[in-house]
C-alpha cells in the first residue's frame, strides 16, 4: 500500500515574495495608469465610431 508522508504545516517555509522598491512601485503605478487611460479613450473612440457608422439606425433594430 502506498503511503503518503504527512508534514506539519508549521514546518513549511513561507512562500518567497518579491518586495518592490518604491521606484518599482512608482513605475508600475504609472504603467497601470497609462493602460487605464488608453483603454478608457478606446472605449470612447469605439462608442463614437459606432454612432458615426450607424447614425440614427442605431435604434433601428427588432426588439
Amino acid at each position: 500500500m502506498r503511503t503518503v508522508a504527512l508534514t506539519d504545516p508549521r514546518d513549511q517555509k513561507p512562500p518567497q515574495r518579491v518586495t518592490l522598491t518604491p521606484e518599482q512601485l512608482r513605475a508600475r503605478s504609472r504603467r497601470n495608469i497609462a493602460i487605464g487611460v488608453s483603454i478608457a479613450l478606446l472605449v470612447v473612440l469605439f462608442y463614437l465610431v459606432t454612432i458615426a457608422k450607424l447614425g440614427p439606425g442605431i435604434f433601428n433594430r427588432p426588439l
Binding site: V18, R31, I33, L45, V49, A52
Partner: protein, 325 residues
C-alpha cells in the same frame, strides 16, 4: 559573401556576429522599471508623426464627404500600425542599435525594456491596429496596413537592412504607403493620385537617407549595416543621390501637373525641387573634409523640409476646401 552571412542567431532571434559583440546591451531588470514614455519611444514617435501627416494627405484627397470621427479613428489605427512596426524593428535591431550613437539610448539597448516585452507589444499593437482599421474603415485599408507592417518588420528589418545596400530603396516602400492607406480607408479604393504621393515619398527616401549615411558611414559600417557609402563608396553614393534627386523634382510636381493640387503647390514643389537639385549638386561636387559632411547634412535637413512643405500644402488646401465647402 553577403553581409547577412556574417551574422548568426542568438536565442532571442536577434542577429549577432563578428561586427557586433554578443548581446551588447544590458538585460532589463526582472521587475520592470519601464515608464509609459519608454513604450511610446518604442513606437518611434517621430516616424509616426510623418506617417500621420502623409496618411492625412491621402485621407483628404478622397472625393466626397469624410466623416471626421471615421477619419480620426482610421488615422489613429494607421499611426498605431506604424508604431507597432517600429517596435518590432527595435526588437530585432537591438544589437545594432546598441553600437550606434544615434540609437544606443533606445529602450531595449539601454536595458529599460526586455526584448520579449517589446516583441509582445509590437505584435499586439500590429494585430489590434489592423483589425481596428478593418472594422472602422474597410478591409482593403486593413490589408494594406498589414502588408506595410509585414514589409517593414520582416522584409526590410529582418532581410534587406542587413543584406543589401539597396535596403532603404526597397524598404522605402513601407514608409511611402501611408497616403495610399489613408485614401483606401476613406474610399475602399486606390487612386492614381494616392499612388503619385507614394511615388514622391518613395523616390525622396534614397537621397534623404544616403545624405545622412555619407556622414554616418563609419557608424553603419561598425554596426555591420551595408549602406550605399560603405559598400559602393561615397562617390557612387553622391552620383546616386544626384540621379534620384533629378527624378524626384519633376515627380514632386506631378500633383499640380495632374490637376489635384493648386498652383501654390506647383510653385512650392518647383522651388523645393530646385533647392533639392542644387544641394544634391553641391553634395556631388564637395567630396572632402568637413565641408562635404556639412553639405550632406544640409541636404538631409532640407529634404525633410521639402517633403514636409509638399504635404503641408496638400493638407492645407484640401482641408481648407472641405471646411469652406
Amino acid at each position: 559573401m553577403s553581409m547577412s552571412e556574417n551574422f548568426d542567431r542568438t536565442e532571442h532571434g536577434a542577429p549577432n556576429g563578428a561586427a557586433v559583440a554578443a548581446k551588447p546591451f544590458p538585460d532589463a531588470p526582472l521587475v520592470s522599471l519601464a515608464e509609459p514614455g519608454d513604450y511610446i519611444a518604442l513606437l518611434k514617435p517621430r516616424v509616426m508623426s510623418l506617417v500621420v501627416f502623409t496618411a492625412l494627405a491621402g485621407i483628404l484627397l478622397a472625393p466626397g464627404p469624410v466623416h471626421p470621427v471615421i477619419a480620426f479613428a482610421s488615422l489613429l489605427a494607421i499611426a498605431v500600425g506604424a508604431g507597432a512596426s517600429g517596435a518590432l524593428n527595435m526588437w530585432f535591431d537591438a544589437d545594432i542599435d546598441a553600437v550606434m550613437t544615434r540609437t544606443k539610448s533606445r529602450p531595449i539597448p539601454s536595458g529599460k525594456i526586455a526584448p520579449n516585452e517589446a516583441l509582445a507589444f509590437g505584435l499586439t499593437l500590429s494585430v489590434f491596429s489592423v483589425f481596428t482599421l478593418g472594422i472602422v474603415a474597410n478591409w482593403l485599408a486593413a490589408a494594406l496596413l498589414a502588408f506595410t507592417i509585414f514589409f517593414y518588420a520582416v522584409v526590410y528589418t529582418m532581410w534587406l537592412k542587413r543584406s543589401t545596400p539597396q535596403n532603404i530603396v526597397i524598404g522605402g516602400a513601407a514608409g511611402a504607403i501611408p497616403p495610399v492607406i489613408g485614401y483606401a480607408a476613406m474610399t475602399g479604393d486606390v487612386s492614381l493620385a494616392s499612388v503619385v504621393l507614394f511615388a514622391i515619398i518613395f523616390i525622396w527616401t534614397p537621397p534623404h537617407f544616403w545624405a545622412l549615411a555619407l556622414v554616418k558611414c563609419g557608424e553603419y559600417g561598425r554596426a555591420g549595416i551595408p549602406m550605399m557609402p560603405n559598400v559602393k563608396g561615397a562617390d557612387r553614393t553622391r552620383t546616386e543621390i544626384l540621379l534620384y534627386t533629378l527624378v524626384l523634382a519633376p515627380v514632386g510636381m506631378l500633383p499640380w501637373l495632374m490637376g489635384f493640387a493648386s498652383a501654390v503647390y506647383g510653385g512650392v514643389s518647383a522651388l523645393g525641387g530646385a533647392g533639392m537639385i542644387w544641394l544634391a549638386m553641391q553634395v556631388y561636387r564637395k567630396r572632402e573634409g568637413a565641408t562635404a559632411d556639412r553639405t550632406a547634412m544640409q541636404l538631409f535637413g532640407f529634404s525633410i523640409l521639402y517633403l514636409f512643405a509638399l504635404f503641408a500644402v496638400i493638407v492645407a488646401e484640401r482641408g481648407l476646401a472641405r471646411v469652406l465647402a
